[in-house]
Symmetry: C2
Subunit: 400 residues, 2 copies
């Protein structure tokens, strides 16, 4: 077990559950740290109400870690032979970007991580509230800063308005050229990088249980960009999207201020998907921004930079790892799970895949309305119990 924390990074315990060379070895990951819990009532005391277990970390990610412990305890107590060896990575810095974890894992690539045949991570959520799923893909990210400056300091529009070309005018124009109204990214050739959709993949989307209208209602969106379930989920998971996050350096407070900001930094990012890489996307995006700037013809100063990037991740759902996960869910829930992807990033997936050289599966036990990171985080009691059963069943199914 590697119980990881920046402050105790030297306390590496190379103790595993089983070292049978005849058995496969499964790595289990979880984290024990949580998001800040301001505004919650007794966030650190678990309270059960109406079948829901309220408490900070109940679903993200202490609950799933406890489910693992319960699952293994029960199997051991009942004298059931666990058909795989287990290794654990439980960290306490996940909510702070898993600071230092990759470095620590990399150090133990050839001892602790050696012979890991597959990894199972229970740190995401079902797509809905009723049907279990296994998650096989995540989008990556490319984040950009576009800076425009027009003077050495902020100016008062009363004293200077009308005398110089203002940085904000240039910046909002550039930002206005990034997408069409329907969300299409205008960067030339960016869609050429996207892996073509196969018939088999389309079929996965057709089978997924997802309510288009409920999704719209949940976020009170005035409209959605796609009109069918399949298109919407693909737009969320397997196609890139661009969002403008904001502007640094301009007036952003409530009320009115008559400032001419001298230097403004527009921030936007693109969620990327296979076969896009930060490198290939950065090249196209920076070239497009430079072209826009040339077209603008402004005498102001401009600079566009790729701030940071992360790879997308997709894995093979035909691997034993997923087959065992699916059979376990079938045993517990009586249904085949949906195969889902997510629109965000969980960088640790890529780290485990790279360092073990083997399959990684996301097996969520919480539901989509668990409010991780938000007030009143919960895990339904039924999800906790059925999730525990699923994890135990998953270990047994790995005997296949």
């Amino acid at each position: 077990m590697l119980c990881y924390n920046t402050y105790f990074s030297k306390h590496f315990v190379n103790k595993n559950l089983g070292t049978d060379e005849m058995k496969k070895t499964v790595l289990v990951y979880g984290h024990l740290d949580v998001q800040p819990a301001d505004k919650m009532t007794d966030p650190f005391e678990l309270v059960e109400k109406d079948g829901k277990l309220f408490g900070r970390g109940s679903t993200d990610d202490k609950g799933p870690v406890i489910a693992w412990i319960h699952a293994i305890s029960v199997l051991k107590k009942k004298g059931v032979d666990i058909p795989v060896n287990l290794k654990f990575v439980f960290e306490c810095m996940e909510e702070s970007g898993s600071e230092g974890l990759e470095e620590a894992l990399r150090k133990h690539k050839d001892d602790f991580l050696k012979n890991v045949d597959m990894t199972c991570i229970s740190d995401n959520y079902w797509l809905g509230k009723k049907k279990p799923c296994l998650t096989y893909g995540l989008r990556g990210l490319c984040y950009y800063f576009v800076e425009v400056s027009c003077a050495k300091q902020d100016l008062h529009s009363g004293s200077y308005g009308g005398t110089l070309p203002e940085a904000m005018n240039d910046l909002v124009w550039i930002l206005s050229q990034l997408t069409d109204l329907d969300g299409t990214i205008r960067v030339p050739h960016i869609y050429d990088l996207v892996e073509p959709l196969t018939d088999g993949e389309r079929k996965i989307y057709e089978g997924i249980e997802f309510d288009h209208e409920e999704y719209k209602k949940d976020i009170a969106a005035h409209s959605l960009l796609k009109s069918t379930k399949e298109e919407l989920l693909m737009s969320r998971w397997r196609y890139p999207s661009l969002s403008i996050h904001g502007i640094e350096g301009a007036f952003s407070q409530p009320g009115a201020k008559t400032v001419i900001p001298n230097k403004v930094i527009g921030k936007f990012s693109i969620r990327i998907v296979p076969n896009m890489t930060p490198k290939s996307v950065d090249k196209l995006v920076i070239a497009y921004l430079n072209d826009l700037w040339a077209k603008r013809g402004s005498p102001n100063h401009y600079n566009a930079v790729a701030h940071h990037g992360g790879m997308p991740w997709v894995t093979d759902i035909k691997h034993l790892n997923f087959r065992a996960g699916a059979r376990a869910m079938k045993r517990v829930f009586g249904v085949e799970p949906d195969y889902t992807r997510e629109g965000g990033t969980i960088p640790i997936c890529i780290t485990f895949q790279e360092l073990t050289g083997n399959n990684v599966m996301l097996l969520p036990i919480g539901a989509c309305d668990d409010m991780a990171h938000s007030q009143n985080e919960k895990l339904d009691r039924s999800n906790f119990i059925q999730g525990t059963k699923t994890l135990a069943a998953y270990l047994l199914e790995l005997a296949e």
Copy 2:
């Protein structure tokens, strides 16, 4: 004298300097409050260094008020008959928007303000550092909020990017349609409201001492919108200008955040000039914004409002008030003053003009580099002495 402060608004002292009905009556305005003085060294102890008097309020506006007191003391000490009656309005809330002053003045329109023949305000600055000026015009202001919303709360671009039309995209597009690169405001018919330039007015601009290149260097602008002195000053003082100040509700901090802001409010304002009024400008601007929104065709929610407005002010420089001011400056400095306008607003000018029904003149004694409101505010010793002499001379010249 009306020594005004919100907290002592009842202490109205109706004591004037002279009540000779054969004489004209001059109202003198000044203020005794100052901007906060963080970061300065001993801001409230006047320090003379290299011919400069450093201290908070030295130029804005305690220095000019003391210059008035000195000017009058000297005349009285020397037994010189002051050829006008004087009334004073010294307030202590100017830096807080002169809260309550207009209301108090309005109450005394028919007693204290009765028979005021002209008003002299020394609360602005020379255009440059060497030549005195008299100021006869100010721009007004129309401030707008444009709000776009796409969901009920901020969303994470990982979970939601690609599924809904985002408010920021609509807002930056609208903001990008407000001006051309050369600063021209795109609102249809807005320039029809601007008073045409006369030959006489153009001549005033030709005579003004102003260094176009020094102005550019002072603010380190990469470029200016106009290439001649006259055009630049007119663009600053007698034509409208539009500035985009910022966006409320979007990410504005340093660093990166992958938020989809659910509700964003773009803020911009137009500096207005005669014969524009907030009412006439608001009508054109809101109609243009509504047209833009219709053209955009976004399903998101939109609202545009005129947040607040203030009238521009221009007065007659042929009035006795200005003639006396100009002769006073000629006596003290040996040159005719420049006649200047300013790009910002000083609402009290319009208040005095309206309530007295008579001429208002801005007679600055500080220079353009006095750094009012900023660190190390100063008033040159020579400006203070010559300014005091100018004020005394002005009173004597009013005997004309």
